[in-house]
């Protein structure tokens, strides 16, 4: 083994490496002759073409098996998530921190809300129909235009005081801000088992006086006729129903942690891993 242990000098190594890259005696480039390189490359090109073909074929047949309207499984979507608008995140999650007298501090919230509600103005919603029934809006067949199903209208004026129409600052300068609660869409999900689910917000630590709240639409309910959702392809113009919450008595200069839950059968909000399932939590602080 003695021979193997002989340390090669650096120049010897370089020489060996050069010889490996190009060996003039055998005409080998990196250990193969040129023609050999061509052959092996051709083989691999062919191999990968076949493999790509097989993979494409598999993906193609996978797509063929899928239903274009509803996914095969909704294993991870048993209960909808709930989000808040304006969705401005700070270090500790959702934070609504502003100074009532400083326009710059709350303007971003107002802009966000306006932007968000622009999808709910009458022009945006004109394709949707007016619904009046207080029941689930089941549609077996595709009666809508272009083989779609109808979606119910939800316009921002349904949020009344929080629509941003009468009060374009959503009550922020007054220290009584409007926040909007949105429930995530899940295809064929029927919340509330016949009773309209409603939003209920509470302060997490009731050190302060109990929250005085005003919900829009009344009672903070999501009307049942917005459910079930039939998916993007069936209901291309569907928009989520919203609930706006106006906070009337937020203690000034103090941080308030608020949890807004959507209450209704089939909506769980106790998943320890998922803070946004069935509820949304946020902090508020309004300074003078």
């Amino acid at each position: 083994m003695a021979a193997l242990n002989e340390k090669k000098t650096c120049s010897q190594r370089m020489e060996n490496f050069k010889r490996f890259v190009w060996n003039p005696d055998t005409g080998q480039l990196m250990g193969r002759t040129l023609i050999n390189w061509v052959w092996i490359s051709l083989y691999y090109v062919a191999f990968y073409i076949v493999m790509t073909g097989l993979f494409s074929l598999a993906i193609y047949s996978l797509m063929r098996t899928l239903n274009p309207y509803t996914p095969d499984y909704q294993d991870r979507l048993k209960s909808p998530g709930v989000t808040l608008r304006p969705d401005v995140y700070g270090e500790g999650g959702l934070e609504i921190y502003y100074n009532a007298s400083d326009k710059n501090s709350w303007e971003k919230y107002v802009t966000t809300l306006h932007k968000f509600l622009s999808a709910y103005n009458t022009t945006a919603q004109h394709a949707n129909i007016n619904c009046t029934s207080e029941k689930y809006f089941f549609q077996k067949s595709f009666l809508g235009p272009n083989k779609t199903k109808y979606s119910c209208k939800f316009t921002s004026d349904m949020l009344e005081n929080c629509s941003g129409l009468a009060n374009s600052t959503f009550g922020f300068p007054e220290g009584q801000p409007c926040l909007i609660i949105k429930m995530n869409r899940i295809i064929n999900f029927l919340p509330g088992n016949g009773t309209a689910p409603r939003v209920s917000c509470t302060a997490q630590h009731d050190d302060f006086s109990p929250l005085e709240l005003q919900y829009y639409p009344v009672n903070g309910t999501f009307n049942l006729h917005y459910f079930p959702y039939y998916g993007k392809k069936a209901q291309p113009t569907y928009s989520n129903p919203l609930v706006a919450v106006k906070f009337l008595n937020i203690t000034r200069n103090a941080e308030v942690t608020v949890v807004c839950r959507v209450i209704g059968t089939g909506i769980t909000s106790d998943n320890p891993h998922d803070p946004y399932e069935g509820k949304v939590e946020f902090k508020m602080r309004i300074q003078d």
Partner: protein, 977 residues
């Protein structure tokens, strides 16, 4: 008289006083060899912690902690994932390190228990009285007494000796007992008769002597320290594994760095890029492989131990397999290590005797009257005796008191005649002259057992020419005939022929003393020799040899077909050595040495073309004068070589010569002085029975039955494990691509991560472990003893073909199969493949809790994460399913699986079942433990990758088919690993 002499001696020499002895002991230290310096345990342990892939994993762990530190400072919620991953990686390194250390320690412990000796006692004269002390307490100047059977406790100069003989074979290699006396006969301490050496054995007689050297100062001690001076070389398998680690680490680091650069230039954050780098390292490193290799080697070591090869160093298992030259001792290894009667000559004819290990009868023609006379001489003119109480022991195994030739004759007679002791009793011995080197004969006078025959029978044996000188007649067919010139020539021919076979020949003669001259009461006096010792009647010749073990010729021919050169190195006479070499096939029947050719052609040796001679018998004296180049020339030009009359020091030269030819050399040895050669050899093999402790210490392997044939079975096992390790590594490397591709696609296509780092560890250290060990149980594909030993620089464990085939072909198929499962899971849950592309940033945004999928549904972050884990599980399961196919195809490299048999290796099935069971447990049992990132998977997702598993099998069968069909073709060269 000897009693009184000894008494007198004791009075004259009172020995040391206890006080003085204690003083010297304090100065010189105990009389024991310093054990070879062993590496401290902690160093051994730490070496395991940084060896192999450990460094790479430590780097990974360190990067994890750095990422953790940065993320904590930034307040990232998932920062702790990195901390845990770092801890897991560190744990992996530490646990595999502990495992490897434990395995090493276990095999070392076997050795430790093996070499443990009972403390030796010595009879020493101190304070004027004899006492037993532990040999370690001896000091220079002590007077010690030794008797037959004792081990010499130190180097001793004899001041009194009676019939003392020592066995110096462990020191000098001379197998003949050496007589010892008080006479100074030679300048060289090794040659002079009045010194007995530490660790040699006193065979017979008694002696008293003064201790002149103790402990490491003894001759043995000096040789032992010489042996520890010869450095330990790296074993071939260690070099192969290092080579393999370099390849994998090279791939890991270069891909890691490449993608780090790509990620940074794709505007990923540096921190994210570091996390990618960790993933790539973890995916590339087969964490469990080195542990698997260790287990496979120790399994083979166990198997070898069952076949009488005890392996000290696990890696030596494979070294034996790559052996290309075996330098073997003769005595005891190739031969039975006991003199046995091989031929007889009487009635002008040579008869062969059975020399096998378990002889119970002899089948040569025993009807002649001459045989009756010869057998009588053989029986009576013999001083050897069986030790009592061995009636039930087979004759060949009985213990005999007496020297080697007499023992051989006694056993020979016992086998044929039975009850030799009874015959001797009936033919009472009246007088006897024992053998001595001046007379060169042994003689005794007996009464005969025939009550009517009052004559005395004088029997004599000795060196044939001396015996013949004393004879005037010769017995032919029971008749005494005059010993004329013709008869004498016949004798000479027979003597030469037997001598030419390398056998020790003894002549036998007898004489019936006339009744009238030698009446009943005749006083025989052996000093004055008042009886005739000439004009005797020659009866016959017997020749003895230490015969080859019966299994050896077969083993040698196996070595030959396996391309292993067997070189005999012996201290014996060239003729004997050559004869044994011929009879075991080390020199094959039709090959000639230069001398043979010269003799046949009748030309001087110098004129013979050396290349014509396949065989060579080299004398130690010739070797002494040879230059390195000349020795190299001999080793290259001759395929059958015998070194005779070599000193153990020359063994080292021969080993070095073989190693210059790039051979992997196995050396057998038993003596202390063999230890440097054993150390120098790539694999030193010590004899378990005859071997000295020093030899066993220096060796890598111990042959428990001292049988050469066991080496050959060891070679077979060693070759098998090399092949099987190749399979194991190919199996393990394949899935690394399937683990790596997800990260590459994740970085480039920005899809949700298909498989997590933790999940990868569950494959590497979970599902894959038992299957890769199972490949160690795979049977050989063809007769592995019919191919040449691997060339240690060309036939690598991991060659280009293996890496390329595993990485770029099977690995790619596996990745595609696993990605199909990944896309299937996502698509069926609402995320179509086109939606996934470029989704990564939003997907991983903790504040984005209403991302729309392809169907318009909105997902929170956690819902997505949970889906991501489902993706991990599906990817994991798909790799596992395809690894089952990979495991099956790796059973063979050339043959079809159906030729090899699917069910022959049951352990493979244990592996497959374990693989699937572990996957089931992880998915369904531990699916709810969020830290592990597994989820219970829908049943059909287990089958998504199945077609690809079948594709792997079919593709590999086609590959093997072409390899078998077109050997030597482009396909064979590029696809056979």
């Amino acid at each position: 008289t000897s009693q009184s002499k000894q008494m007198g001696l004791q009075e004259v020499i009172p020995g040391l006083t206890s006080a003085r002895a204690a003083e010297i002991l304090a100065r010189d230290g105990p009389n024991a060899l310093t054990p070879p310096k062993s590496t401290p345990e902690i160093i051994k342990f730490l070496k395991q912690m940084v060896g192999g892939f450990s460094i790479l994993l430590w780097v990974g762990a360190l990067l994890c902690w750095i990422a953790f530190g940065i993320q904590v400072a930034q307040g990232v919620a998932s920062a702790f994932d990195n901390l845990y991953l770092g801890v897991v990686l560190a744990l992996v390194v530490i646990l595999t390190g502990i495992f490897a250390y434990y395995q090493e320690a276990k095999s070392t412990n076997i050795m430790a228990s093996f070499s443990k000796m009972i403390p030796q006692q010595a009879l020493v004269i101190r304070d004027g009285e004899k006492r037993e002390v532990s040999a370690e307490q001896l000091v220079v100047g002590d007077m010690v007494e030794i008797k037959g059977g004792d081990r010499i406790p130190a180097d001793i100069r004899l001041i009194f000796a009676q019939g003392c003989k020592v066995d110096n074979s462990s020191l000098t290699g001379e197998s003949e007992p050496q007589s010892r006396s008080c006479d100074f006969t030679h300048e060289n301490p090794l040659e002079t008769k009045n010194i007995a050496f530490y660790s040699t054995t006193c065979l017979e007689g008694t002696a008293t002597g003064m201790v002149i050297n103790t402990g490491d100062q003894t001759i043995i001690g000096r040789i032992a320290s010489l042996a520890s001076g010869v450095g330990n070389e790296k074993t071939p398998i260690a070099i192969e594994i290092e080579h393999f680690v370099h390849i994998v680490a090279g791939v890991a680091v270069s891909i890691g760095v490449l993608f780090f650069i790509i990620a940074v230039s794709m505007k990923y954050k540096v921190l994210d890029s570091i996390i990618f780098l960790i993933g790539i390292i973890v995916a590339n490193v087969p964490e469990g492989l080195l542990a698997t290799v260790t287990v496979s080697l120790s399994l083979t070591a166990k198997r070898m131990a069952k076949k009488n090869c005890l392996v000290k160093n696990l890696e030596a298992v494979e070294t034996l397999g790559s052996t290309s030259i075996i330098c073997s001792d003769k005595t005891g290894t190739l031969t039975q290590n006991r003199m046995t009667v091989a031929h007889l000559w009487f009635d002008d004819q040579i008869y062969s005797a059975d020399t096998s290990e378990e002889q119970t009868t002899q089948s040569f023609d025993q009807s002649s009257q001459s045989w009756a006379a010869l057998s009588k001489v053989v029986t009576l003119c013999n001083r050897a005796e069986f030790k009592p109480g061995q009636e039930n022991v087979p004759i060949m195994k009985r213990v005999v008191v007496g020297d080697a030739s007499e023992t051989a004759l006694l056993k020979f007679a016992e086998v044929i005649l039975g009850d030799v002791m009874g015959i001797r009793k009936r033919n009472r011995k009246l007088a006897e002259i024992p053998f001595n080197s001046t007379n060169k004969f042994q003689l005794s006078i007996h009464e005969t057992e025939d009550p009517n025959d009052k004559r005395f029978l004088m029997v004599m044996k000795g060196a044939p020419e001396r015996i013949l000188e004393r004879c005037s007649t010769i017995m032919i067919n029971g008749e005494e005939q005059p010993l004329d010139r013709e008869r004498a020539e016949a004798f000479q021919t027979a003597y030469m022929e037997l001598g030419g076979l390398g056998e020790r020949v003894l002549g036998f003669c007898h004489l019936y003393l006339p009744e009238d001259e030698f009446p009943d009461t005749y006083p025989f006096d052996t000093d004055s020799m008042n009886f005739p010792t000439s004009n005797l009647c020659f009866v016959g010749l017997l020749s003895m040899i230490d015969p080859p073990r019966s299994t050896v010729p077969d083993a040698v021919s196996k070595c030959r077909s396996a391309g292993i050169k067997v070189i005999m190195v012996t201290g014996d006479h060239p003729i004997t050595a050559k004869a044994i070499a011929k009879s075991v096939g080390i020199i094959s029947a039709n090959s000639e040495t230069v001398e043979d050719i010269a003799k046949r052609l009748n030309v001087p040796v110098e004129q013979v073309n050396k290349e014509d001679a396949r065989a060579a018998v080299i004398n130690g004296m010739e070797l002494k004068d040879m230059t390195t180049e000349q020795l190299d020339e001999i080793l290259i030009n001759h395929s059958e070589i015998v070194f005779a009359r070599t000193s153990p020091q020359q063994k080292l030269i021969i080993v070095e010569g073989c190693q210059r030819q790039d051979a992997v050399v196995a050396v057998t040895g038993d003596g202390v002085n063999d230890s440097p050669a054993l150390k120098k050899a790539d694999i030193g093999i010590a004899m378990g029975i005859a071997g000295s402790d020093a030899a066993k210490n220096a060796a890598d392997m111990i042959l428990l039955d001292d049988n050469f044939a066991s080496i050959v079975t060891g070679v077979e096992e060693g070759r098998l494990i090399f092949d099987n390790l190749k399979k194991t590594i190919a199996y393990t490397l394949t899935k690394n691509i399937a683990e790596l591709c997800p990260f590459l696609i994740y970085i480039i296509a920005s899809v949700p991560l298909p498989i997590g780092t933790i999940t990868i560890l569950f494959i590497d250290l979970g599902t894959d472990i038992i299957p890769s060990v199972a490949l160690a149980y795979e049977k050989a594909e063809s007769d592995i003893m019919n191919r040449r030993p691997r060339h240690k620089k060309k036939d690598r464990l991991v060659n280009e073909q293996l890496a390329v085939y595993s990485y770029l072909q099977i690995g790619i198929i596996q990745s595609i199969g696993a990605f199909l499962a990944y896309f299937t899971v996502y698509a069926e849950q609402g995320w179509l493949p086109n939606t996934l592309l470029g989704l990564r940033v939003n997907w991983e945004d903790d504040y984005y809790n209403d991302i729309e999928d392809s169907y318009g549904q909105e997902w929170t972050r956690y819902q997505r994460t949970y889906l991501q884990w489902t993706g991990y599980t599906a990817f994991f399961v798909s790799i596992t399913i395809q690894q089952v196919a990979d495991l099956i195809i790796r059973k063979t490299r050339r043959n079809s699986i159906f030729q090899q048999g699917l069910l022959r290796n049951k352990v493979i099935w244990v592996g497959i079942v374990s693989q699937i069971a572990i996957a089931l447990i992880l998915s369904y049992g531990l699916g709810s433990v969020t830290a592990l990132n597994f989820t219970p998977l829908r049943v059909q997702y287990w089958f998504v990758a199945m077609p690809y598993a079948i594709l792997i099998w079919v593709y590999d069968e086609i590959r093997k088919l072409f390899i078998r069909q077109y050997p030597g073709s482009w396909w064979d060269k590029n696809m056979y690993y």
